[in-house]
């Protein structure tokens, strides 16, 4: 490919996805930020939640592959060479990482909501 710089890459993805490119990138950035925020707030990773999120991630990876196949009118029988398996692995990995992070953030926010006090600041007694 000629002139394959980041600008071309962005231009092609812009044509491919239109506004969804930026909505999607924004959503991924938001999930990543919330993930970091949760880590800081909870001072570390919640192991049990991570395992549950990874289970969701496994399904997310498979879903990503199935979506790509549906969009391209193709299936597993079309895999023809090693690079095709690499592509399948990359698509799965992307789906896995995004779904795991999203699930971790989702579970984390739910946990925060459950542990938050039901009422607000106690009313001050009148002097």
């Amino acid at each position: 490919m000629k002139d394959l710089d980041l600008f071309v890459f962005v231009a092609v993805f812009q044509e491919m996805l239109g506004a969804f490119l930026w909505i999607g990138l924004g959503a991924v950035a938001l999930v990543a930020l919330l993930f970091v925020w949760l880590l800081l707030r909870e001072r570390g990773m919640a192991a049990g939640r991570l395992v549950r999120s990874e289970l969701v991630g496994l399904v997310g990876g498979v879903l990503a592959i199935l979506v790509m196949q549906a969009v391209t009118h193709s299936g597993f029988s079309d895999i023809g060479g090693p690079i095709d398996w690499v592509l399948v692995a990359l698509i799965w990995l992307a789906g896995f990482v995004i779904a795991t992070l999203a699930a971790y953030v989702g579970f984390g926010l739910l946990a925060l909501r459950r542990s938050a006090p039901v009422t607000g600041r106690p009313l001050q007694k009148p002097a």
Partner: protein, 443 residues
């Protein structure tokens, strides 16, 4: 109520907030790009004849690289056709709308579009005359008229009957591509004899007729009717493709898929009622009956170009009027202020969108260099590519140059002669966005 199109000419309108988000991110992308040379100031008048893939891509780049130039596009066709998608429409994989956009949506800011055809080229007087008789003078001309499908050269052929009586022809229009799918699909339900082939003239995307035979074979197999059908590919000479190594690979695949090959067969006449195609061969005319046929007509430079002094005056491209340009710079041999890009350029191979993508930056650089008074070192090496579909879900990423060398973009990663899913995914997902970015001069 007419469908609202976005600025791309394809798809629904996007909201203002999305646009703002997009422009912010695009600005970020611009910021990380290597700095471009400042635009060259000029008062030059540039006419771009033809607003297809080559014309729009050239106009976009010229508009970006020049400041103060008068850039005039001339083309009578209002819809813009994404021709690499025709095969997908004719395979029932994409709707007709997939290949139809709006020319005006791709005209770069600062350029003017005259929605008329060019009736006459006068390179000695440095002007073109439109269908209405309007003369448009130029200092530089970018010839990007595309080509003419010469269906009239096939005796008995009637474009209006595409889609009926087993007659297919992918190239004629989006409607014809869809009608071809209907005819091919009906054939795939019944079986019989299907004929494929290509003309002896230069043609756009020489891989397309091969692909269509592969796709027909695949669809027959998916419907369990391959045993009831005979597929015959009629090559115009003694090869299936102009690049020997690719030709041999296709021969092997056709043998494996049981597609028969006749060499030295050129379609000269067709009896649409009796479903008989007549081919000229070294042994004389030969009649072949068919149940389905994909007609690929001879292709020539448009009439106005053929009538002008711009065509080759000798050699293999003289008869069909292809523009006589230097194969490495795309500059006209006798009129240095004229460049030809895209299908109309009289260069070996290279009548594809991929060729346009590589030709346009070279021609534009030479044109801008002339204005700026510098020498351009840009050279076009004949690069073109063809995602050669071998079945639904797999394709070979064939890329080559003037010398028939394979020039893979991803050497050692994507093997050019392997049937791969990744190549198919690129064809279905990435090719059109790359094409659209090219129209805007961004890729």
């Amino acid at each position: 109520m007419p469908r609202t199109l976005d600025s791309r000419g394809w798809g629904p309108t996007i909201g203002r907030r999305s646009l703002l988000l997009a422009s912010g991110a695009a600005a970020a992308a611009l910021a990380i790009r290597a700095p471009r040379a400042a635009p060259v100031r000029t008062g030059a008048r540039i006419v771009v004849a033809g607003a297809g893939a080559a014309g729009l891509a050239a106009a976009s780049r010229l508009a970006r690289e020049l400041e103060g130039a008068t850039i005039t596009l001339i083309d009578q066709r209002k819809p813009h056709l994404y021709q690499p998608g025709f095969t997908l429409v004719a395979a029932g994989l994409k709707p007709k709308e997939y290949v139809i956009g709006e020319t005006r949506a791709f005209v770069p800011p600062g350029a003017t579009l005259i929605e008329e055809g060019v009736a006459e080229f006068d390179p000695d007087g440095k002007k073109v005359v439109t269908d209405s008789g309007r003369a448009v003078a130029y200092d530089f001309l970018v010839l990007a008229t595309g080509l003419q499908l010469d269906y009239g050269a096939i005796e008995g052929m009637d474009v209006a009957r595409i889609g009926r009586d087993g007659l297919g022809s992918v190239y004629a229009s989006p409607d014809a591509a869809l009608a071809t799918w209907q005819a091919m699909s009906a054939f795939a339900d019944r079986g019989g004899v299907a004929l494929f082939g290509r003309p002896a003239t230069e043609m756009k995307c020489a891989g397309a007729p091969l692909k269509y035979a592969f796709l027909t074979d695949d669809i027959l197999r998916r419907r369990g009717n391959r045993g009831r059908a005979e597929l015959i590919y009629n090559a115009h000479n003694n090869a299936l493709f102009s690049v020997p190594i690719v030709s041999e690979r296709v021969r092997m695949l056709y043998q494996e898929r049981e597609v028969k090959v006749n060499y030295g067969h050129q379609l000269q006449a067709i009896d649409l009622g009796r479903r008989i195609a007549t081919f000229s061969t070294a042994q004389g005319p030969k009649e072949l009956p068919y149940d389905f046929i994909n007609v690929v007509p001879p292709m020539r430079a448009p009439q106005a170009v053929r009538n002008s002094p711009l065509g080759w005056r000798s050699g293999p491209w003289q008869a069909d009027g292809w523009a006589e340009v230097d194969r490495h710079t795309l500059r006209h041999a006798r009129y240095p202020e004229v460049f030809a890009v895209g299908d109309v350029a009289g260069v070996p191979k290279g009548k594809t969108a991929a060729s346009v993508k590589w030709q346009v930056p070279v021609a534009v650089d030479h044109l801008v260099a002339t204005i700026a008074g510098r020498e351009s070192t840009a050279r076009y090496n004949g690069y073109t590519s063809c995602p050669l579909i071998t079945r639904i879900g797999r394709a070979m990423l064939v890329e080559f140059d003037y010398q028939d060398n394979l020039v893979p973009s991803f050497p050692g990663v994507i093997a050019p002669l392997d049937e791969l899913w990744i190549t198919w995914v690129m064809k279905e997902v990435a090719l059109k966005p790359t094409y659209l970015a090219m129209l805007r001069g961004q890729a």
